[in-house]
């Protein structure tokens, strides 16, 4: 049995699932729109959490938050369920498919067989849509893939019940109630305000301050940790910024696309200018990645290199501070 579901590839899994499910229900909402309304943009250095033996740095909101905020702001209702028992989780999934309802699932990446080996890490906040079942094979629309794919029931159970940080516990979700018409204008304003608040937050590890904090740490790394570890840490930052799902430049380009789309909806030319500005900031993040990669490519790097990329980050922090203050005023 197969539900008539159209797969659109997206940069990021969570926005992609939401956007694809919305399109399925007849609401044409783009990925950047979901990302912006859900206030997905962020910067956070999480000092006490280690991912792959390096400090966790994120360029986006906590998994699940984007959808939650998006739903609340545009006024749709989401049904969610988590399970202890894999059999029950499977029954609920099958039931939904029988009712012609495509559903979103939270899964772990490590056992996703269709991913290239190099990308299979223990990351448990990936999202995909199941839109049908043939015998024991589920039809999967994974938004970061170019085309649809499949997983056997055993494989699906494995990824739904992956363990580690943020275990999915079979998390299943789908929108249930829709308003007659989506009120995007208000939702956009709320999304932008929230993002400005996050990025300008008076917290040492969050937003603009978090970028400066990270720069300070980078300066200390080569002396404190030795070249090898420092390079590993720096590589981790670049991976978080550019790895599958960010759309390039640590989500800055997606955010710029959101501002451009919003400027048309709200009829606010200021947002179009700010979108251009954000694109330039995204380019600077890419430059940072290029320069950082030069350091960890030549493993016998000098401390100078670290100071240079740290200065780049500080310059980015200054730019983003000006940017988000201007954005706050523009709406």
């Amino acid at each position: 049995m197969q539900i008539n579901f159209t797969h659109h590839q997206s940069a990021h899994c969570e926005n992609g699932v939401v956007s694809n499910l919305m399109k399925h229900h007849g609401f044409n909402v783009s990925e950047p729109m979901v990302f912006g309304i859900g206030s997905g943009l962020l910067f956070c250095y999480i000092p006490f959490l280690k991912v792959n033996h390096a400090p966790a740095i994120t360029y986006r909101a906590m998994p699940g938050f984007i959808f939650k905020r998006f739903a609340k702001r545009v006024g749709i209702k989401i049904e969610r369920e988590k399970f202890k028992d894999p059999k029950k989780a499977k029954a609920v999934l099958d039931n939904n498919l029988n009712n012609n309802n495509p559903v979103g699932l939270q899964v772990g990446v490590y056992n996703l067989t269709y991913f290239p080996d190099e990308y299979r890490f223990h990351f448990n906040a990936h999202n995909l849509v199941v839109y049908g079942k043939e015998d024991n094979t589920y039809l999967i629309s994974d938004p970061v893939m170019e085309t649809v794919t499949t997983l056997t029931d055993k494989e699906l159970e494995k990824v739904r019940f992956a363990k580690g940080a943020l275990p999915p516990k079979g998390h299943i979700y789908y929108p249930t109630n829709f308003p007659k018409e989506l009120n995007l204008e208000k939702a956009i304003l709320k999304g932008i305000k929230h993002t400005c608040r996050d990025m300008l937050a008076p917290m040492p590890v969050l937003g603009v301050k978090g970028i400066r904090f990270t720069a300070k740490q980078i300066r200390k790394w080569p002396k404190k940790l030795g070249t090898k570890k420092a390079n590993h840490f720096l590589g981790q930052i670049v991976r978080m910024q550019e790895e599958i799902g960010t759309g390039g430049g640590g989500f800055r380009y997606i955010f710029a696309a959101f501002l451009q789309e919003s400027s048309k909806i709200l009829n606010n030319p200021k947002l179009a200018d700010l979108s251009k500005e954000m694109t330039l900031i995204g380019d600077l993040w890419r430059d940072f990645a290029v320069d950082a990669s030069r350091i960890y490519k030549n493993r016998g790097a000098k401390a100078d290199g670290y100071n240079e990329v740290a200065s780049q980050l500080e310059a980015l922090a200054d730019k983003e501070e000006v940017f988000f203050k201007a954005l706050k005023k523009a709406i």
């Binding site: 950047p32 590589g235 790895e243 599958i244 789309e261 890419r286």
Partner: protein, 135 residues
């Protein structure tokens, strides 16, 4: 980033016939999406991370062979796990898993516990006990 500047470098994605989507500006300044096959700065970062893991696996293997740790630690590294992840898969406290790294303690583990570990690593108990049997 301009659409024409979206990098098309060689990467590990290519082998899997997989292109990633990213956002870029077209000639009229409008945002659009474009496919990318990869970008060198992040390919290098990923390769370094993989090297790092391989090194950890190799070190763990040597420690197993010189009887300083149990094969559990080797398989943990091989599956890119850390103590926290492995502990949550077996459903034990981290200190208990860490204790199972001691060769002496490992020798005395019950069949049931060994089976649990073997299932997680998708191997037989024989392979778990002797890493030379695993490929």
């Amino acid at each position: 980033m301009k659409k024409s500047e979206v990098p098309q470098d060689k990467s590990n994605l290519e082998s899997a016939n997989f292109r990633e989507l990213c956002y870029a500006v077209d000639e009229n300044g409008e945002y659009t999406t474009a496919h990318t096959t990869g970008w060198d700065p992040k390919t290098i970062a990923l390769d370094n991370a993989i090297d790092e893991i391989n090194q950890r696996v190799e070190e763990a293997k040597n420690r197993v062979l010189s009887n300083q740790t149990s094969p559990i630690e080797y398989y943990m590294e091989l599956h890119k796990m850390d103590l926290q992840i492995l502990a949550s898969y077996v459903g034990l406290w981290q200190w208990r898993v860490k204790r199972h790294f001691k060769p002496k303690v490992f020798q005395k583990l019950s069949h049931k516990t060994l089976q649990k570990y073997a299932d997680i690593f998708d191997i037989t108990i024989e392979q778990l006990k002797n890493i030379e049997h695993a490929n």
